[in-house]
Structures are given as C-alpha cells and as structure tokens.
C-alpha cells in the first residue's frame, strides 16, 4: 500500500451551536430541541442547526434557492480554509480537490421537487431540479472558490465522512491534487425523521415511547443535522506555505462489520490498525470509541458528518495524549463501521 504524507490543517463545523472555525469543542453537548420546523405526530425532539445568515459568516455569499446543505458546504469550506490560513485565490485551482460525503444529499429540495410531482409533473420547477442533485454542494464550492480539480461526492450512510476522507487521501496520494477540501454532513427533514420513527430506531430522548438499539450506546438514534469540513494537504504543499497542521492523517477505512468498532479491545485495535497502518505498534495508539463518539454525534454533524466530527475530536485529543496516534473507530449503526487514524506531526 502506498503511504502518503498528508496533513490536516484546517477545520470547521456547523451544528447545533452554529457555524465555527477550528476543531470541535470536546465538551460540547447539545440537548435535542423540540421540532417546530415541520408537523410531528406529538412533541418530537432532534438536534437541529439554528438558522443563520450565511453572508454574516462569509461576506458577499449568495445562497438564494440553494439546498441548506449547499449553503452549509459553502460556509463550512470558507471557515475551514480560513482556519488553515489559506487565501483560496492564491491556490492553483486545477490542483484543489473537493470531496463531499453525505448519506442523503440535498434531501430538503428533493422532497420539495418530489411533492410537486403529484400536482403537475409537466410543470416542474426548472430552477429547483438541478439543486436536488447530491453533487450540488460540491459543485457550488467549486464554482464559488474556482476549484477545478477532481470533485467527488460519495455516500456511505453514516460512514460517508470516512469514505470522503479515504477518497481525498487517495487523490492526494496519487498526485491528482495537492490540497483537498473535504466536507461531510446531512440535514434533517420530516421524511427522514419520520422514517426513523416508523422503523422504531429513535431514542426515547426524541420524545417517543421506546427506542430500539441502533447506535453504539444501545439507546437508539437521536437524529441530528450539520456539516463538518477540513483541509487536507500534502506535506510538500503545506510546508511550502508554512501551514501549522493539527496532525498527520495516517489512514482510514470503512467496512461492513460493526462489532469490532462497537466493543474494541486490545486485539481489535491491532486488527483495525492492520486496516489503516499495517506494521504500526498498537502501543503507540490511543483509541477513542464508544460513548465519546456517540456524544459527539449528538453535538451535531449527524449522519454523514459524524466521522469528520470524530476526526476533529481525535485531532484535539492528540494534543493531550501521551501516545503518538489517536484512532477513532465507530459503528455507524447501519451495518458499516469507520476507522480513522491521526498522528502527531513529527515536524
């Protein structure tokens, strides 16, 4: 397996606490709030992103008629670039990749368009239709910032972050780009929330009578929404611009077996390490798994954005850990698990 020297240099998140640059706060806990955005069969709770004016965060940003996920992608990218100390106009636009991970894509406008088909499919909205496509958040970022490199949208349910990071690392490792903006996330709609409720997958914290074990802590899902973004660069590129990295990206993996990630032990750490960094001593690695990851999801960035949120927490943990590496391994509750490994930057 080819090994690339890749650094993580910028971070941002959009969640229940709003939009912010930098690593996520490990102490952040968001209480599920009463849903008022749509009609529910009784009091129902979820972790939602409060409304904000994108132009207040990114001056001049025009977001009219975009899916909220596209708006968050633009804001999240701007904040992550700012955190990395990158002025996008100084980059070679052909060498910047954009990789987006999402479970559901632009589901809000998709539902709007789908609902309109019952009335009159022959008179559908031509502006709305293109904005329903899952790759629109990535293409809006490309257009706004002028990035002409590879632009990829991947979907792996709650392992979408991990899939996006693995693809971004591969694009940099194979020399197809020098720098990548990676973001992942999802938004919550009535249809998505109702699906979880009908499937019996919700936590009692959502205001339902009973939940069925579906997430790592066995109490059911608290649906949330949000988006997390990061900047990944080759070492050569980062050093040329004197970037201050949070850490080194060692590797990532998604797989179909959630058991190892849900109840990690020493042997499991070795097995998971074999996936992302064959030959590395497990004594060098601190594992973050279980409840800490689940709490992170409750703090925002749910569904497809969970893995990137965990990555941000791992990068924060690196500063305090006496180990060289931190690994986050999480069951996604959807028959897949994700593993990410980051290392203190030796330089």
């Amino acid at each position: 397996m080819t090994r690339s020297d890749l650094l993580l240099t910028g971070f941002s998140s959009i969640g229940a606490g709003g939009a912010s640059a930098g690593l996520p706060d490990p102490g952040l806990r968001a209480n599920p709030e009463l849903i008022a955005r749509w009609t529910t069969p009784g009091p129902r709770r979820a972790v939602l992103v409060p409304a904000f004016r994108p132009a207040d965060v990114v001056p001049g940003l025009r977001t009219r008629r975009l899916d909220r996920l596209s708006v968050w992608a633009l804001v999240g990218t701007a904040l992550a670039l700012q955190d990395a100390g990158i002025d996008h106009s100084t980059l070679d636009p052909d060498r910047v990749a954009v990789v987006f991970g999402t479970a559901f894509g632009c589901v809000e406008l998709t539902e709007q368009f789908l609902a309109g088909l019952r009335q009159n499919a022959a008179q559908a909205d031509p502006i709305l239709f293109p904005e329903t496509l899952a790759n629109q958040p990535g293409s809006h970022v490309a257009r706004h910032f002028g990035f002409r490199g590879p632009n990829l949208t991947v979907s792996a349910k709650k392992a979408s972050s991990e899939a996006a990071l693995v693809e971004a690392a591969s694009l940099l490792g194979t020399g197809e780009a020098d720098c990548a903006v990676v973001f992942a996330g999802d938004l919550l709609t009535r249809s998505v929330f109702a699906w979880y409720e009908a499937a019996g997958a919700l936590s009692p914290a959502c205001g339902v009578d009973a939940g069925r074990a579906s997430d790592g802590d066995g109490t059911g899902t608290v649906p949330g929404e949000g988006l997390v973004a990061c900047v990944m660069e080759t070492r050569e590129f980062a050093e040329r611009r004197r970037a201050k990295p949070y850490g080194r990206y060692v590797g990532g993996w998604i797989g179909p077996d959630g058991e190892a990630a849900r109840r990690p032990g020493v042997r499991d750490v070795s097995a998971l390490l074999g996936r992302v960094a064959a030959g590395m001593d497990s004594g060098d690695v601190e594992l973050m798994a279980g409840p800490s990851a689940v709490h992170a999801e409750v703090a925002g960035g749910a569904f497809g954005g969970c893995g990137l949120l965990r990555l941000g927490l791992a990068l924060g943990r690196l500063r305090e850990s006496d180990r060289r590496c931190v690994m986050v391994a999480s069951s996604t509750g959807c028959d897949q698990f994700g593993v990410l490994l980051v290392e203190k930057d030796p330089s």
Binding site: L114, A121, P150, S155, A199
Partner: protein, 407 residues
C-alpha cells in the same frame, strides 16, 4: 506515478435498452439498432409521451434477505452478477472486494410523492421499504449483499459523470494498493423525478435524440446498469482471470462554471482528457476511438466538440468520436459505466460505432464525428468521456494488455 500498480478489467456486466449482456450489446450496436421509443413503464402525464431508452422485461432478481430492491437496485445487482461470475469460487477475494456503484436517482424510481407530502402515512401504507432505497449508497449495499462481497462499499453521485467516476475511484483504490479486486459501475432506472426535471429544463428531444447534429433538439432519458470487475493486473494473471483490457488512465475535473451548463470552450472536459492520456502515458495519436458524452443538447455537443479540438490538438488525423446515447438514451448515473463497456467492446473488436441519425454534423475540422455504417479499425487504446451537471468531467482511457495481448 511510475511505481503504481496496473489495473485490469476482468469482468463485464451490462443491461441496457439494447438488451442483456455484452454480446447482445455488441451485436445491437454493430447492427445499428436503437433502443429508444415512447415511455411505457409508467405514465408521466406529459402532454406528449416522452421518448426514452427503456429496459424491457427486466429479469427477476432475488433480494438478499428481506431487503427491498428498487428498480435501480435490481439493475445494479443484475449487471454485477454478470461482471463477477469469476468470483463465485473465490471466497478470499469476496471477503475483501470493495463495491463502488454510482447513481443519480437511486430508489427515487420507487418512491411516491406521498413520501414528501405526508411521510408518516406513506410509511404506514408500506412505503418504508421503498423509502429505504433513497440513499445514493443503496445500490452498492444491494450489490454487496447480493453477491456477498465484504469489502468497503459506497455510492458515488456526481450527476451524469457518476459512472465513469465510480470506475476511476475503484481503479485508484487498486492503483494505490487499498484493494486488489474491486467491483465498480453505475445504475439508474427511469423515473418521473428525472423526466420531469429534464422536461422542466426543456432538455428533452420530442423524438429520438440526434447528438452532434446541427438540428439536435435535446436528449432522451434512458435506464440501465453496467459493472466492471477491476483487478490488479499481476493478480489477475496469477489466478488465470480473463484480462479483457487495462484501465490505463483516468482523470476528473470540474468546470467551476455553471450549475447546469458546460463551459462553452469545454475547458474542464478537455483538461480531464489530457490528464487521463498523461496518466496512461499515451500520445493523442494513440487514441483509436472516443465514446463521447454526446447528449444531444444544444449546449453540450458544441462545448464537447470544442473540448476534443483542444485535447487532441496536434493529432495527425481527426479523432474518431461517436455518441452511443443515440442508441440507448442518456442513462444518467449509469451512462459513464455503460459507455465504458461500449468503449471496451470497440477496443476489443476494433469497431467504430456511429452516432445514429447524424446527418448534418456540428462543424469541426479536427473531430471525426462517426456516422453512417460501422467501421472496422484495429486499435490499442480507446477513451470514454463523461460530463454532468455541476461541472463534473471524467475521462477513462482503456488499453489492450500490451504484454500478453488481451484475451
């Protein structure tokens, strides 16, 4: 990268409006058959019945466990089973094999508008299964579960370049050592959602489409699926697999220009072709055939011809290009994968398929827009080109296995 691993194609599965399997597809293309006709699988309630590329008599596909399979899932599983026949007795490979399947609509083919209007009632009335097929990752899950493939799996959704990008992603995984064998392709079913969308954009031809023709009036939506079994070349040879060709190069770019329109000069598309040829280490004269994106819309076809003129500048003879969307329609998330299969058929058979109904080609001095009868010309390298909404571009370069000669 000089030390990167070579990627072989060792299996092909395809289902399209021209039928089932690569032999059927080759025969139909060689005979100049067209699979485009009036929509019959559902009623779009348009003033005029739209012309589409329909898969008639989609074979039954056994669902793995209790999994609900949408029409898109069934197309994907059907093509995947064809492509992966050589893995039937390879449990070690199946344990690690990644699955990458692209789509634009996924299960929207099976989901009623009620899911968005009154979801609680829709789910109570049996909509929970169809709604679960909505995520773009679903076709990859369906394929992995149906074929018992236990490696990483994910979906790719980058509009109409999706299928080519899925193949590029899988090839990259093999090239950088993350995988030895991977199954990749795309699938999309006809559905009201996309028909209504393209109709709203006034992008549909009211009859059969005429790509690259001066009189072209838009595209025809199609459906289908194609999957390729990709494999590290040395591994394929060692296990005696049928090496059909090599994925010699790939590249993806973005126009960063407009939500739906391509760059007028085809800059991004040209750049993806140039980078793919560089990666494949082939010169512009080496390309024997290009399977075009060629949708038949006013904007795309001119921009695309400009892109060929730019990417193949300096070539000795005009580059042979055709759009087989004139045979099967635009299969959206599956298009790049189905057209990769057609490119492989052209490469292996030395056949240049024409664009159907091309009478007055878009003016160009350096692009040979193929029309009329099928031509027979041996070649060693061929290219498939895809583009999509949001400015996505991907080019794939396929070559015959130079050392052994493709089987």
């Amino acid at each position: 990268m000089s030390n990167r691993r070579s990627v072989a194609v060792t299996g092909i599965g395809v289902i399209s409006p021209l039928g089932v399997g690569r032999e059927t597809l080759l025969e139909a293309l060689t005979e100049g058959r067209c699979g485009i006709g009036p929509l019959s699988v559902f009623d779009a309630r348009f003033s005029q019945v739209p012309f589409v590329g329909e898969v008639r008599d989609l074979p039954e596909v056994d669902a793995p466990g209790s999994l609900y399979l949408s029409r898109t899932d069934r197309l994907a599983v059907f093509a995947a089973r064809q492509a992966a026949t050589s893995l039937a007795n390879e449990p070690r490979i199946r344990r690690e094999c990644p699955v990458v399947v692209s789509t634009t609509v996924a299960g929207l083919s099976d989901i009623e508008p009620e899911a968005a209007i009154e979801p609680e009632g829709y789910y109570r009335r049996g909509g929970l299964g169809p709604a679960s097929t909505y995520p773009a990752s679903r076709p990859s899950d369906a394929v992995a579960r149906a074929l018992e493939l236990d490696g990483p799996r994910f979906g790719i959704s980058v509009a109409c370049a999706s299928g080519a990008m899925a193949i590029a992603a899988a090839a990259r995984a093999i090239a950088d050592g993350r995988a030895t064998v991977a199954l990749a392709g795309g699938s999309d079913a006809l559905c009201l959602f996309t028909l209504a969308g393209f109709n709203a954009l006034q992008a549909l031809d009211s009859g059969q489409c005429r790509p690259f023709d001066e009189s072209r009036g838009g595209l025809n939506i199609g459906e289908g699926a194609a999957m390729l079994l990709l494999e590290e070349l040395g591994h394929a040879r060692a296990r005696g697999a049928d090496v059909l060709a090599v994925v010699a190069g790939w590249a993806s770019t973005n126009d960063a220009f407009h939500p739906t329109a391509p760059h007028e000069e085809g800059l991004g598309l040209a750049m993806s072709m140039t980078q793919a040829m560089q990666r494949a280490q082939v010169e512009v004269d080496a390309i024997g055939y290009v399977n075009a994106h060629g949708t038949g819309t006013r904007l795309n076809d001119v921009a695309e011809v400009r892109a060929y003129e730019r990417a193949f500048a300096g070539r000795g003879a005009p580059v042979p290009v055709s759009s087989t969307k004139s045979h099967i329609g635009h299969t959206l998330g599956a298009a790049g994968a189905i057209e990769a299969v057609i490119t492989l058929l052209a490469l292996r058979g030395g056949v240049l398929f024409p664009t159907l109904r091309l009478e007055n080609p878009v003016p160009t001095g350096s692009v040979d827009l193929l029309r009329g009868a099928v031509r027979h010309t041996p070649m060693n390298v061929a290219m498939s080109v895809s583009a999509g909404f949001g400015g996505s571009n991907t080019s794939l370069v396929f070559a015959l296995d130079r050392e052994r000669g493709s089987s």
